[in-house]
Amino acid sequence: MSANNQTFSLHRLSACMRKEIGENSRRYLLSAAVTAGLMLLVTVSYSAMHHHESMELYKGATEAFSGNDMSELKAFNPGTQISEAYHRYHAMIRSWLSVIFMFATSFFASTAFYSMASKEWRLRTLTTPASQFEKFLSALLISVVGGWLVCVAGWWLAEYLNYWLFSMLTPYGKIFRPDELGPLFNGYQSTFLSMLIFIPLFLQSLFFLGSTVWPRLSFPKTFWAASLILVAMLFTLKAGFSIGFDILGRTGIPPMFLMDAHTYAYLLSGLTLMNYAIAYARLRETDVVRQW
């Protein structure tokens, strides 16, 4: 795509992204450091609290081998033979990390249009020589894709630093490396993985849209607005299905509680795309002086 194309040019997109990251590098670095720090804090503090317990579990798992034979210990496949309890310990850490992941990716997305937070900044953004699509894509790549990359890197760092720290502390000289544990959530892979991917994607799109409405303090404002809408929807659905229950004699449970992982994935994907489409339309209509 050449620079003459008025909708998309790779040169302008990369210049736009470099400008955004370069001018706000401190803010992005601070957010990334806080995210990685929180993840590390969760893994290390959880491990510290359960260190004794986990060592006992590990001991129990390794004593199953005859005489702690090093060759057998090396051949030990934790993905299949690790005790359920030991697995639960890691699953708990990963559940906490998932929660931070969702909050952090949403937070990054909520800063997508922080550059529109004041009249002067909005003017600078609106008059930057790039198309609306390039500005939108730049914000999307930095705050949504970049947010994922930062959070995945933070997760990886937290698990490996945790492993490194506690493998030094353990008298057995070994705890299981995160990659030896197999899939993130054994046994519930499709449901959990689908939720782990599609729920953060949907939440990100929601906070991305929120940042076009409230560029300043977008995260708390979108959080409360979305919570209110969700609660209102749940009450409406519950009320509607309670009436349905009375009439039809059915369960009275809203259908969202009965959907399978695939239906969730389709539904959330649709809502995610819709949020991004609305955000793009809002950006096109944005003026230097907010009139909405």
Binding site: A3, S9, C16, G22, K119, E120, T127, A130, S131, Q132
Partner: protein, 282 residues
């Protein structure tokens, strides 16, 4: 180059700031956009830059509607607004990050502009005063070599040497294919620079004339002579005599006294254009 037709805009639906504005600007001139506070000067500049959506009418720049904010248009217009923000980074980094977005950016022009304001490029934008930021920002704006440069109250916040440097800066920036629109209510800062004068009041343009046309029709003098003052179209009393605006009957060009012209235009919006057709003001 720039055609504004039937432009209407208001921040509220039935309270227009600009009402059916029609303007046409050609390349190679410095336009002075004058008007009292709240006349809509900044709003008009925002509309020209495509940062606001007109309620009615269009702003066409080289045939493109500026509100579409096409990269080609945005890369050829630079708006130095009265209130602006610069990131808290080094100036060199700022230039490195922003210059690639302007296809005709010139580092040589930037160096020359900074020299003119007595600044070096080893600056940190977070450590500058408002006046210094303005000088740096204007230097960058001019170095972008856009064909249309919009400046909103550019001399606000500048010290006396800064204002003098600003006049040299603008005079040195003019080329045949560049148009500069300077919006201000501080008419003395720019009076000798202008090629064309636009005066705004009460939501519309009340005067749109080239300076040479004004000089052909009007003469400006400072005098205490009551005979002259009695024949003046308008006068403003001063310490060394009154500044007066008279019909130019002898064909000699005088420097335009923008204060007198502006004061007359604001007080006689209905008849200001008539005096250029030899009509007697009411």
């Amino acid at each position: 180059m720039l055609n504004i037709s039937n432009l209407t805009f208001g921040y509220k639906q039935h309270h227009p700031i600009l009402d059916s504005i029609n303007l046409s600007m050609q390349p190679g001139g410095i336009y002075g956009l004058l008007g009292p506070n709240g006349a809509g000067k900044s709003t008009l500049l925002y509309l020209i830059a495509g940062a606001l959506t007109p309620q009615k009418g269009t702003v066409l720049y080289k045939g493109n509607d500026t509100r579409r904010r096409l990269p080609e248009t945005l890369g050829d217009i630079f708006l130095v607004s009265e209130e602006f923000s610069l990131p808290s980074i080094s100036f060199k980094r700022y230039v490195k990050l922003n210059a690639p977005l302007y296809p005709r950016f010139s580092h040589e022009t930037l160096r020359r502009n900074l020299d003119l304001f007595g600044l070096s490029s080893d600056l940190h934008l977070g450590a500058l005063s408002m006046g210094q930021k303005k000088k740096v920002f204007m230097s960058f704006a001019l170095a972008c070599n856009t064909s249309l440069l919009l400046m909103d109250e550019p001399t606000n916040g500048l010290d006396i040497p800064g204002k003098s440097a600003f006049r040299r800066f603008i005079a040195g920036a003019m080329t045949d294919d560049r148009t500069i629109i300077i919006s201000t209510h501080q008419v003395r800062d720019i009076d000798r620079l202008l090629d064309h004068i636009l005066i705004m009041d009460e939501h519309r343009i009340i005067l749109d004339r080239p300076t040479c046309g004004i000089q052909q029709s009007l003469r400006f003098v400072t005098t205490s002579d009551k005979t002259v003052l009695n024949s003046a179209l308008h006068s403003i009393p001063g310490i060394g005599g009154a500044s007066a605006m008279l019909r130019n009957t002898d064909g000699d060009d005088t420097e335009i006294n923008l204060e007198v012209l502006f004061d007359f235009a604001i007080n006689n919006p209905q008849s200001i254009n008539g005096i250029f057709n030899n009509e007697t003001p009411a």
